[in-house]
C-alpha cells in the first residue's frame, strides 16, 4: 500500500547558537499515513506536531531521517500542487481582502482565471465570508481569518490536506462544518492529516490517530480499537413505554448485568447549531461570518467524473447523454453556469437508476448536498439531513467506508 505520508526516523533537534543540541523537538519519528484516510495527529502543546508538519512541507530541514509526502519531497512544486496546508494560525496578508487573498493563492497554483474565479466564489460561499469578501483580511476576527485560511488550503482541490489545529477560534458551526468537510473529502478519496489537541474533533472524524509526546509516538491505531469499550453494550430506541422498559430491565437482570435507562441528551453542539440556524432564518443581521453548511461544489464533485459518465454511457439510458463531453472540472470551468443543469440531469438519472450501482453513490451524495444548501424549514430537519448523510448514506465504494461510517456514528450516535 502506498502511503500518503511516510517518515523514516525523522528527527529534529533545535540547537543553540554554538550548535549544541538543546531540544529534541521530534525524535526518531516513523509515521505512516495511508492514502485516503483521516489521520489524527494528537499531542499536548510542544509535543512536536507542528515541527513534524513543517518538516513534511520543507519549511524545516530534518536533523536526521527523511519525510515523504505523496511519495515525494515536500519542497517539490509538483507535490505542493497536490497539497493543501492550513498552518497553526492563518498567516494572511493583512492588506488584501478575502477575495484577493484567495485569488493570490489561486494564481500561485497557476489556476486559469475562470476556474479560479469559480472556485473563489464557491469557497467564499462555503466559508460564509461572501458578504465580507471585499474587507481587508487584517480586520477579520480570528475565526473569520481561520475560515479564509481553510479556503486557501482548499483552492487547489488537494489530494492531501494538512490541517494544523483547524478549529481553533471557530464557532461550533464552523467547527461542525470543517468536520463535515473532512468526512466529505475523505469520501472523495482524499487524505487528511489533522493535527489537533481538541480531542472531540479528532474523535468525530479520524480513522486512525497517533498520540505524540516529547517528539515520540506514544500510541497509534484505529480510533475504534483504541476507544471501544468491548465490555459494554448500548441500545438506543424510540420513546417506549415504561412497561417495555421494565421488561427490558428484567431481561438484562436475567443475564446478571447492570442496566441504566435514561433519555439521551442532545450534544451542546447540536443545540447550538439549532439555535443559530433558527436565528439565521429570521435574517438577523450580523457583521461576522455567515454560518452555512454549504460545501464548495468543486470539492464535493465525485472523483473521476469521466468514469461515471463512461458507466452511464455504457448503461442503456437516454441516448442524448452520450453526446455530452466529459465533465472534467477543467472543461466545466468554461461553462460554469451551463454545467449546473447537466449535473442536475445527471443526478436525476443517477437517482433513477439502481441504487447499489457503484460510482453513482457520488451523485446521490450531490443530491443530498443540494438539500442541505436550501435549508428545510424546521431545524430538526437539518439535523436529520446531516444525520442521514453521515450515517445512512449509500454503501461507500472505497475500502475505508466501514471505518468512516463508524467514526461518523460517533458524531451523531451518542443516544
Amino acid at each position: 500500500m502506498e502511503y500518503a505520508i511516510e517518515t523514516f526516523s525523522l528527527t529534529k533537534i533545535f540547537s543553540d547558537w554554538w550548535g549544541r543540541a538543546k531540544v529534541y523537538a521530534v525524535d526518531d519519528l516513523n509515521l505512516q499515513v495511508r492514502s485516503n484516510e483521516v489521520f489524527g495527529f494528537l499531542g499536548p502543546n510542544g509535543s512536536g506536531k507542528t515541527t513534524t508538519l513543517k518538516m513534511l512541507l520543507g519549511l524545516l530541514h530534518p536533523t536526521k531521517g527523511r519525510a515523504l509526502i505523496l511519495g515525494g519531497d515536500g519542497s517539490d512544486p509538483k507535490i505542493n500542487a497536490r497539497v493543501g496546508f492550513l498552518p497553526e494560525e492563518s498567516y494572511l496578508y493583512r492588506y488584501l481582502n478575502a477575495r484577493e487573498t484567495l485569488d493570490f493563492y489561486g494564481r500561485l497554483f497557476g489556476l486559469p482565471p475562470k476556474l479560479r474565479k469559480m472556485r473563489i466564489e464557491a469557497l467564499l460561499d462555503m466559508v460564509g465570508l461572501k458578504a465580507v469578501a471585499n474587507r481587508a483580511v487584517g480586520t477579520f476576527s480570528k475565526g473569520m481569518a481561520r475560515r479564509i485560511g481553510l479556503a486557501q488550503a482548499l483552492i487547489n482541490d488537494p489530494d492531501l490536506l494538512i490541517l494544523d489545529e483547524p478549529t481553533t477560534g471557530l464557532d461550533p458551526i464552523g467547527t461542525r462544518q470543517i468536520k463535515d468537510l473532512i468526512i466529505k473529502l475523505a469520501k472523495r478519496g482524499k487524505t487528511i492529516l489533522l493535527c489537533s489537541h481538541l480531542l472531540a474533533d479528532v474523535e468525530d472524524v479520524c480513522d486512525r490517530i497517533a498520540i505524540l509526546y516529547g517528539g515520540r509516538i506514544q500510541s497509534q491505531g484505529q480510533v475504534r480499537d483504541l476507544l471501544q469499550q468491548t465490555n459494554k453494550r448500548q441500545i438506543t430506541t424510540d420513546a417506549i413505554s415504561d412497561a417495555t422498559v421494565a421488561k427490558i430491565e428484567q431481561l438484562v437482570r436475567d443475564e446478571n448485568a447492570e442496566c441504566v435507562v435514561t433519555s439521551p441528551m442532545d450534544k451542546l453542539e447540536t443545540f447550538f447549531i439549532r439555535t443559530v440556524t433558527a436565528a439565521q432564518k429570521k435574517a438577523q443581521p450580523t457583521s461576522g461570518a455567515v454560518s452555512t453548511t454549504k460545501i464548495g461544489d468543486f470539492l464535493t464533485q465525485p472523483p473521476a467524473v469521466e468514469n461515471i459518465l463512461d458507466k452511464l454511457v455504457a448503461a442503456p439510458i437516454s441516448p442524448d447523454l452520450s453526446d455530452r463531453g466529459p465533465l472534467t472540472e477543467d472543461v466545466a470551468a468554461d461553462t460554469v453556469s451551463k454545467s449546473r443543469p447537466d449535473e442536475q440531469l445527471l443526478s436525476k438519472l443517477a437517482g433513477s437508476s439502481e441504487p447499489g450501482q457503484p460510482g453513482i453513490a457520488g451523485f446521490q451524495e450531490k443530491v443530498e448536498t443540494e438539500a442541505v444548501q436550501t435549508p428545510t424549514p424546521e431545524s430538526e430537519q437539518v439535523n436529520k439531513d446531516i444525520l442521514q448523510r453521515l450515517t445512512g448514506g449509500p454503501a461507500d465504494q472505497n475500502e475505508d467506508g466501514q471505518e468512516t461510517d463508524n467514526s461518523q456514528a460517533g458524531s451523531s450516535g451518542d443516544a
Binding site: G58, L59, G74, S75, N80, Y93, Y95, L96, R107, L108
Partner: protein, 460 residues
C-alpha cells in the same frame, strides 16, 4: 512564471497599501512644485533651471533609493516574521521564484514611481520659462545651454614627452640640473611646466587647438572655457579674440573655402563662459582649428586650466537626455532592490535596512571613500590594496554616473555611457561600473542563502 507574477503583483499591492509609499509620494508631490518656484540659482533663467533639475533629481533619487531599500527588505522580512511565507512557499513555487517575484514587484513599483515623479519634474522644468518673465537673451541662453544635450569634441592631449626629454638633456649638458632631486621628479616637474606653457598665451600671442574628423552635427557649436590670469586685472575682465575655421587658415593664413568665425569678446576670469559659433566654419576635410588670441588691453598671460577648454555641439534633445538620466536612476534602484532582497534573506528588518543604508551611502560617496582610503593606504600599503580596496571596488559608484552631472551642464548622457555604468567593467579602459553585474552577484548570493535556509526558523 505565473507564480513569479503572482508574488510580484502581491508585492506591489503591499507596497502601495503601505503608508511608506504614500508618504514619499505626498512628499514629492508637495516638494517638487515648491522647489520649482523657490529654486533661483544665480537669478538667471538658466541658473534657475539648473538648480531645480539638480535638486529635484537628487531628491527624487534619494527618496526612491531609501524607499526601494525599505520596501525590498520589508517585503521579504515581514513575510518571514509574520509567517505568511508558510502558506506561500508550500504552494507550487520554487524559492528562487519567490525572490524573483519580489524583485520584479519592487522593480515594477520603482518604474511606476520613477515615471510619475520624473514626469512631474520634466513638466515643471519645461514650463518654468513660461512662468518666469525672463528676457529674450535669457531664453536663448536657456535654450542653447540648458534645453539641449551636447557632446564634447575630444581635446587632444598634446604630447610633450620629447620636448621634456630634450629640455632635460639640455639642462644636463649645461649642468643646471638641481642636484638633490631624482630624474623622475625633474621630468615630472618639467612636464607640468611644459603643459602649462601649452595652455598659456602671452599678450599678443595665440593658442591653437586642432580637431580631426569634425562633423558639423548641429547648426551651431560652442566653445566652453574658463580663464586664469596672473596677475589679476582690477576688473577681472579678460579681452580676447576667438577664431574658428579651416586649420590651414588659422595656422598659415591660407584663404579657405569655408567661412571663418572671428569675434572679440570680454569675459570675467575664473568662471565658465560659452562662445557660440556657426557649424559651417568646419571645413569639408573635418580639420577644425580654434584659436584664442590674447589681446590688449590685457597686460598678463592668460592660462586655461586643465578642464578649462571644451568644444560642444548639440547631439540630442533635452528630453531624450532627461529620459536617459532617469534610466541611470533606475539602474541604481535595481541595484538597491537586489541588495535589499539579498540582505533580507538572512537578516531581520532593522539590521537589513541598516546594512543596506550603509552600503548605499558608501556607494553614493564612493569617490570620497576611495580617495580617503587611498590616502590612508599610503601608510597601510599592501594590506590595504589587497583587501579593502577590492571590497570597495565591489561597491557601485553612484556618484560617477550622477544624472545631475549631465543635465546641469546640458552634457550628453549617451546610451553607451549608460551601458558603461550598467555592464562594462572599470578595467580594460572601459571605465565602467558594472552595476548590473554587481546587482546580479548580490541577487545570486541572496538566492543561494534563501535556497538553503530554514524558512520556519525565525531569526530575531
Amino acid at each position: 512564471m505565473h507564480s513569479i507574477w503572482a508574488v510580484a503583483t502581491n508585492t506591489i499591492k503591499q507596497a502601495l497599501r503601505m503608508k511608506v509609499a504614500l508618504v514619499s509620494l505626498l512628499l514629492l508631490i508637495v516638494i517638487l512644485p515648491v522647489l520649482g518656484f523657490s529654486a533661483t540659482g544665480d537669478e538667471t533663467l538658466k541658473g534657475r533651471l539648473q538648480t531645480f533639475v539638480s535638486y529635484s533629481l537628487s531628491l527624487m533619487s534619494l527618496l526612491l533609493c531609501v524607499l526601494t531599500i525599505i520596501i525590498s527588505v520589508y517585503t521579504v522580512t515581514s513575510d518571514i516574521e509574520q509567517r505568511q511565507i508558510y502558506t506561500v512557499i508550500t504552494k507550487p513555487i520554487r524559492r528562487y521564484q519567490f525572490v524573483l517575484g519580489k524583485l520584479l514587484g519592487v522593480i515594477i513599483l520603482d518604474v511606476m514611481l520613477l515615471a510619475l515623479f520624473s514626469a512631474v519634474i520634466y513638466t515643471i522644468t519645461i514650463y518654468t520659462p513660461s512662468f518666469t518673465n525672463a528676457s529674450e537673451a535669457e531664453l536663448i541662453q536657456a535654450e542653447n545651454e540648458f534645453f539641449t544635450a551636447r557632446a564634447a569634441l575630444n581635446v587632444p592631449e598634446e604630447d610633450v614627452t620629447e620636448e621634456v626629454l630634450a629640455r632635460y638633456e639640455e639642462l644636463e649638458r649645461r649642468n643646471e640640473l638641481p642636484p638633490d632631486e631624482t630624474r623622475e621628479d625633474i621630468i615630472a616637474e618639467l612636464t607640468k611646466r611644459k603643459q602649462l606653457a601649452k595652455r598659456a598665451a602671452e599678450v599678443g600671442r595665440a593658442l591653437i587647438w586642432e580637431f580631426d574628423n569634425v562633423k558639423p552635427l548641429a547648426e551651431t557649436m560652442f566653445i566652453r572655457f574658463k580663464y586664469d590670469i596672473f596677475p589679476n586685472p582690477p576688473d577681472s575682465q579678460v579681452y580676447s579674440l576667438w577664431l574658428a575655421g579651416d586649420d590651414q587658415y588659422i595656422k598659415y593664413g591660407e584663404q579657405p573655402d569655408t567661412p571663418v568665425y572671428e569675434q572679440s569678446h570680454k569675459h570675467a576670469a575664473r568662471t565658465f563662459h560659452e562662445v557660440e559659433f556657426p557649424s559651417d566654419v568646419v571645413p569639408e576635410d573635418g580639420k577644425l582649428a580654434i584659436a584664442f588670441v590674447n589681446i590688449p588691453p590685457n597686460e598678463a598671460p592668460v592660462i586655461f586650466p586643465l578642464d578649462g577648454f571644451e568644444v560642444l555641439y548639440k547631439a540630442d534633445s533635452f528630453g531624450a537626455n532627461f529620459v536617459r538620466s532617469v534610466f541611470s536612476i533606475l539602474l541604481r534602484l535595481i541595484f538597491l532592490a537586489c541588495l535589499g532582497l539579498m540582505a533580507s534573506t538572512f537578516l531581520s528588518f532593522p539590521v537589513a535596512v541598516l546594512f543596506c543604508l550603509v552600503f548605499f551611502f558608501t556607494a553614493t560617496f564612493s569617490g570620497f571613500v576611495t580617495e580617503s582610503f587611498g590616502y590612508l593606504s599610503e601608510n597601510v600599503g599592501a594590506v590595504y590594496s589587497y583587501t579593502l580596496e577590492r571590497v570597495i571596488q565591489l561597491l557601485p559608484q553612484f556618484d560617477k554616473f550622477n544624472p545631475g552631472k549631465f543635465l546641469v551642464p546640458a552634457r550628453l548622457l549617451s546610451w553607451s555611457e549608460l551601458a558603461k555604468a550598467a555592464v562594462l567593467p572599470p578595467w580594460w579602459g572601459f571605465d565602467g561600473d558594472m552595476v548590473f553585474v554587481k546587482a546580479g552577484l548580490l541577487l545570486l548570493l541572496g538566492l543561494l542563502i534563501f535556497r538553503f535556509r530554514e524558512i520556519a526558523r525565525i531569526t530575531a
